[in-house]
Symmetry: C2
Subunit: 435 residues, 2 copies
Amino acid sequence: MRLSQYFLPTLKENPSEAQIVSHRLMLRAGLVRQQAAGIYAWLPLGLRVLNRIEQIVREEQDAAGAQEVLMPTIQPAELWQQSGRYEDYGKEMLRIEDRHGRAMLYGPTNEEMITTIFKDGAKSYRDLPKNLYHIQWKFRDEVRPRFGVMRGREFLMKDAYSFDVDYEGAVVSYRAMMLAYMRTFQRLGLKAIPMVADTGPIGGDLSHEFIILAETGESEIFYDADFEAVDWVSAGYGYTPDSLAKFYGEMTARYAATSEKHDTKAWAEVPAARQRTGRGIEVGHIFYFGTKYSAPLGLSLAGPDGKPIVPHMGSYGVGVSRLVGAVIEASHDANGIIWPDPVAPFRAAIINLKPGDAATDALCASVAAKIPDHLLDDRDARAGEKFADADLVGLPWQVIAGPRGAAAGRVEVKRRATGERVELSVEDAVARVLG
Amino acid sequence: MRLSQYFLPTLKENPSEAQIVSHRLMLRAGLVRQQAAGIYAWLPLGLRVLNRIEQIVREEQDAAGAQEVLMPTIQPAELWQQSGRYEDYGKEMLRIEDRHGRAMLYGPTNEEMITTIFKDGAKSYRDLPKNLYHIQWKFRDEVRPRFGVMRGREFLMKDAYSFDVDYEGAVVSYRAMMLAYMRTFQRLGLKAIPMVADTGPIGGDLSHEFIILAETGESEIFYDADFEAVDWVSAGYGYTPDSLAKFYGEMTARYAATSEKHDTKAWAEVPAARQRTGRGIEVGHIFYFGTKYSAPLGLSLAGPDGKPIVPHMGSYGVGVSRLVGAVIEASHDANGIIWPDPVAPFRAAIINLKPGDAATDALCASVAAKIPDHLLDDRDARAGEKFADADLVGLPWQVIAGPRGAAAGRVEVKRRATGERVELSVEDAVARVLG
């Protein structure tokens, strides 16, 4: 993609409305633009990041055996009246009346709807276990939306819903999602810690939040420093019940809780040198809530002995659009964003220092042909502006080509994360970038 | 994917609420389930089709030089008050009041929003031309939603918006989208005809609808039979202004119009043997409307001579979710859906006639390993039920494996579209299916 043609409106100044670094950088790097309080449009560069994160979330859900569906954004109020949540949910629910005066709402979550869909489609206990997820826009009418996409009103969420024969089965499903989440966050370059948490308006008996550390986080957290040391993905846990039990045991052996669930007695048992407190951002939340929705919504399946089974359920959410902000909170410097390779919108910026100079143009073209996933800065602009924009936008690699190097067929390669620069032949530069 | 694990609730009976064949088959084949009038949830099989269609639409937009963004579903009413459409749009617009009493709406289309986004990001005439598109859910509060996803209230639309220096530039953008649409519909296995059409609530001077023939269509149409003969994709038109001019000349030389724009005088000049009338389904609609939105919303860019330029705009819509129904209307028989290869949710059904029989299971496993994009019917069910479901669901190929063939390592391959069946070795069967 040529930058001269690309819709990438960067900003030189920090926008005054942005209080946290990810919000500032998302506006400055031309990723999003606010359309109303807490409601954002994703520009081309931002959408590429959102899509990459969404795809990683999807792959790990699929790997864990979940099946993707897509529920609509607008739901009938009756569903929520049946579960008893219609009044409970309060003003965060965006309530709508259609042209015929029917009460509707913009879904903030989908426990009720998925329960009726599964009820309508499942025939017997043979349809269990099942985990159905979707990745869809949600709306929560926050009283004070802020922090950009971190706390928006319209946001993209992956929400999965599991159905099991009984408590023992539901626990396996719960643990599978916990493993899928640890894998997902690690692939995104994030260190997330699962913490015992309140169940809030979803309800239920068992719940963990996945928190990444950030000063701007909304949650106060307490955890054992040991958590930061373990590589949960490479440890080789799989989705069999035995492996999941081992994983869950490891995962919950160390203390970690949000302030709502903080247990001062248990905390006192963590060696003082390993006690960590701070603030964190919630990027995922999982719940086991038994028959809280299946019972009132009439989901009941014939069991092997003919007796009815009311499935035990759980739900599992990841804030996909919020993760874009969370990744930036975790990975940036004074000059801009530093995208982890797996979520970068393009792998490399190719910086043409003298567009119109035939040898430099040819050099850039030969690099571009070998690195398809690139953004080529061919603008008629000063080198300083190009360097600043490349650092701001934060692609993992920069390949810098000018008239002097063109004569020798050499370019400079810069790694955004370390700032390390090295002059190389085109061939070596391409090998370095594609690494 | 193993059908015994897959959430695919097929129906044996025709649902009484479905009046047209695509709606009946989408319910029976377990593609969608209605959640409220004109609002559907997409089950796993249906979502796969929706995603494949969306991806083909996206590829052709990208090939035409359009850039993808993603605008939110909820918009502030002020935007529409500025363009003057807020009152005009009537009851089809879903109007919403948020918790602070601000007037919002669920976007039925995005001319206003994209104009302000481009205005905010563009600096000068150098940012022209530009075409920005998104694929996002829309809501139109139809008074009488019907025909399933063909005329739903919440629907997925691809809408693109072009910005050009002047009329001449806008015409090139308009023609480029016409070519992209002809290529898109042909890749989907559809024969679409662009027809001069009314501009409706979008407004403007020039408009074409893309119509596919179907008895259940909402539009009465008149066209020259010559249209059905031409292969617009293989004709080799490209996106240069010259090639587009030639393409557009060819495209508009023959008579084609909806009843609203029908011109009896011009119609009389079409040889009687080539006059075709009937009903059709609108699957796309393109508009040129000059400065209808750019002027009132204050989009003005500095020109090369310093004089302001008010960009000429067009908008270009494809009904992505509607296309799922349209493809089925165009491709089915008495037994079920016949998916064209490019949009099929899986390439092949592998039918195990005797699950639990070791040789048959092994035969199926060996076929499955070689055709990754498959749905394996491993259910404990009668052969007749499996054949009926395979025809209903309509995957392009069926590979049938039973104990008799297993001994000889042979399977039966059936092409869904023709019904042709042939017994082959595993190797030949795989080669036939992967084609």
